[in-house]
Amino acid sequence: MARMKFLCDSDRCIECNACVTACKNEHEVPWGINRRRVVTINDGKPGERSISMACMHCTDAPCAAVCPVSCFYTTADAIVLHDKDLCIGCGYCFYACPFGAPQYPRVGNFGGRGKMDKCTYCAGGPQQDNSPAEYIQYGANRIAEGKLPLCAEMCSTKALLAGDGEMIAAIYKERVQRRGYGSGAWGWRTAYRETVPA
């Protein structure tokens, strides 16, 4: 089985937000929640970079480790998913996640923040694959249809890569070799405890 990962080639990302829009539309993500976002660091300064970030589907995921009701599970493709029927909206996964991926439908924590929502790697949730119930809770399940996440497919510059970790790392490495520079794979050290030689 593949080990699914995301890699954002920040030397290519032009902050067009196509990935953000694709995700919101594909899964009909409600107001106030952005499963994917584009952060620009060093904005307007030398070394400015835009990085598209969602859930990295970490190895030994911190969110899963701290969840008091243990509602996370990891698929055979190493995608980190959670069961909204079990979530109590405590916010612990948000404290632990290095990438700010978990989001909540409610702003306050009084009586809970509502069911946590995050990027599913377009892999839905524990419900029956591609059932209406799954769609309402988690959005589309493209993985069950043999497709990769829509954000990466919609990326206008192919900066955002999704797929088996080794394959996307190889693509990135080849790019870096050809063009002679690369600022590295954002989040990989934190999420997967490994780096892609730039």
């Binding site: 920040s10 937000n17 953000v20 952005n34 976002r37 584009v38 952060v39 620009t40 660091i41 904005d43 030398p46 070394g47 400015e48 990085i51 970030m53 911190p62 480790a65 701290v66 008091p68 009701v69 243990s70 509602c71 069961d83 029927d85 079990l86 109590i88 909206g89 405590c90 916010g91 612990y92 948000f94 404290y95 632990a96 996640c97 290095p98 990438f99 700010g100 702003v107 306050g108 924590n109 009084f110 009586g111 809970g112 923040r113 070799q177 050809r178 063009r179 002679g180 520079y181 600022s183 590295g184 794979a185 954002w186 989040g187 990989w188 050290r189 934190t190 780096t195 892609v196 730039a198």
Partner: protein, 388 residues
């Protein structure tokens, strides 16, 4: 700003054209660049527009054969790094530095959610280690350790009874308000503590027993209880402070009491006022610890109103550690007040305590009370009021 103003002016001018033309009823001021009448002059029915102006003449020669694969450069063409990027550390390096310094990597974001501008927050890892390891160990040792000590104490010392037995005569110790407030705080505390400990340990202890659905139902109810009971708990703390702070100021007698090992560990009964040093300790643990636990808890109930994510992580650490320590302290308090000492429970139960018990544990207080009742009962020149 400049282009916006220019654009607006242009739009106004364009709009004003037709309007002026209508009003004047004359020819439009803006003329089409191409005359709109006549054959081949543009406009409707003007014929096909050629795709290119290049004359398309056949050369009469076959196309040159194309190579099957595009030629590749022998060596990759290395482009220089963009100017601003030269000598910059890469992502992995920046992440490592941020993690070592405990800093966040953040930037600017175009969606209206400022907290999403955090790209990577390595502190999440520390918080995870705190919650899953540090807090679990502190909590486990504090709670189990205290239970162990109390069990041992019970085995060695048994229940502490008044040395001279019960006299059968009681004096009032706590008013109805004092008792009602105590039990409000106590019941809130027990539910707050149990629902909190459920978040720390339930996943390992309760979840395997009752299954995921049941455990979520319990935890959800616990979470709601934890949030709502926070308010009566805090109110009770304030009332408690107002009612009892007067009798809980530490003084010299407390040192003697502590030196003698108290009425619990030692055998003697050092004199003390309304509250002895042990009880004063319980009072201050409750009031000060409770205040900190409440303050850090409210910060968590209203995320991002007071502090950002780093502040919430710290508030949570303070809340968790103080809470489990308070639970341990209160276990000892509950033990002494119930099983550990005969006669103690009545103080908070009926509000009346046996005089012998009171003499042993709160000699000075009994003297004061008796003096006060004597004064109140027999003021100079008073007559017993008859039923006449």
């Amino acid at each position: 700003m400049k282009p916006v103003i220019l654009g607006a002016a242009l739009a106004l001018a364009l709009l004003a054209g037709p309007v002026a033309a209508q009003q004047a009823g004359g020819a439009p001021e803006v003329q089409a660049p191409v005359p709109e009448v006549g054959a081949g002059r543009g406009g409707v029915g003007a014929g096909q527009v050629p795709a290119t102006t290049e004359p398309q003449r056949p050369t009469g020669q076959p196309a040159a054969p194309q190579p099957a694969v595009a030629p590749r450069p022998a060596a990759p063409i290395i482009a220089p790094a963009p100017l601003g990027d030269r000598g910059q550390p890469d992502a992995a390096e920046l992440e490592l530095q941020a993690a070592l310094r405990g800093e966040r990597i953040a930037g600017r974001i175009s969606i209206p959610d400022p907290k999403a501008a955090n790209l990577i927050q390595p502190e999440g890892r520390d918080w995870r280690a705190f919650h899953n390891r540090t807090l679990a160990w502190i909590g486990g040792i504090a709670v189990l350790g205290m239970l162990g000590i109390l069990a041992l104490f019970y085995l060695i010392r048994g229940r502490i009874r008044p040395e001279e037995g019960m006299s059968g005569v009681t004096i009032p110790r706590f008013t109805l308000l004092e008792r009602a407030n105590h039990w409000m705080v106590a019941s809130c505390f027990i539910i707050l503590g149990l629902s909190g400990l459920n978040l720390t340990f339930g996943r390992h202890l309760l979840l395997p027993l009752i299954g995921p659905e049941g455990f979520t139902a319990v935890s959800m109810a616990g979470k709601i209880a934890h949030n709502y009971l926070a308010f009566p708990f805090t109110l009770g703390l304030v009332v408690m402070l107002l009612l009892w702070v007067r009798d809980n100021i530490p003084n010299r007698l407390d040192l003697d009491w502590l030196r003698a090992g108290g009425g619990f560990i030692g055998r003697g009964h050092p004199k003390s006022g309304r509250f002895n040093a042990g009880q004063k300790l319980v009072f201050w643990i409750t009031v000060l610890g409770g205040a900190l636990v409440a303050a850090s808890g409210y910060v968590l109930i209203f995320p991002f109103t007071v502090v950002d994510i780093a502040g919430q992580q710290s508030a949570h650490m303070i809340h968790g550690v103080l809470a489990v320590l308070m639970v341990a302290a209160m276990l000892a308090h509950i033990y002494i007040g119930s099983l550990g000492m005969v006669g103690a429970f009545d103080a908070m139960g009926s509000g009346q305590v046996d005089v012998n018990w009171a003499r042993e544990h709160h000699a000075l207080w009994v003297e004061q009370e008796l003096a006060r009742t004597r004064q109140a009962a027999a003021p100079g020149g008073a007559r017993a009021a008859g039923a006449d």
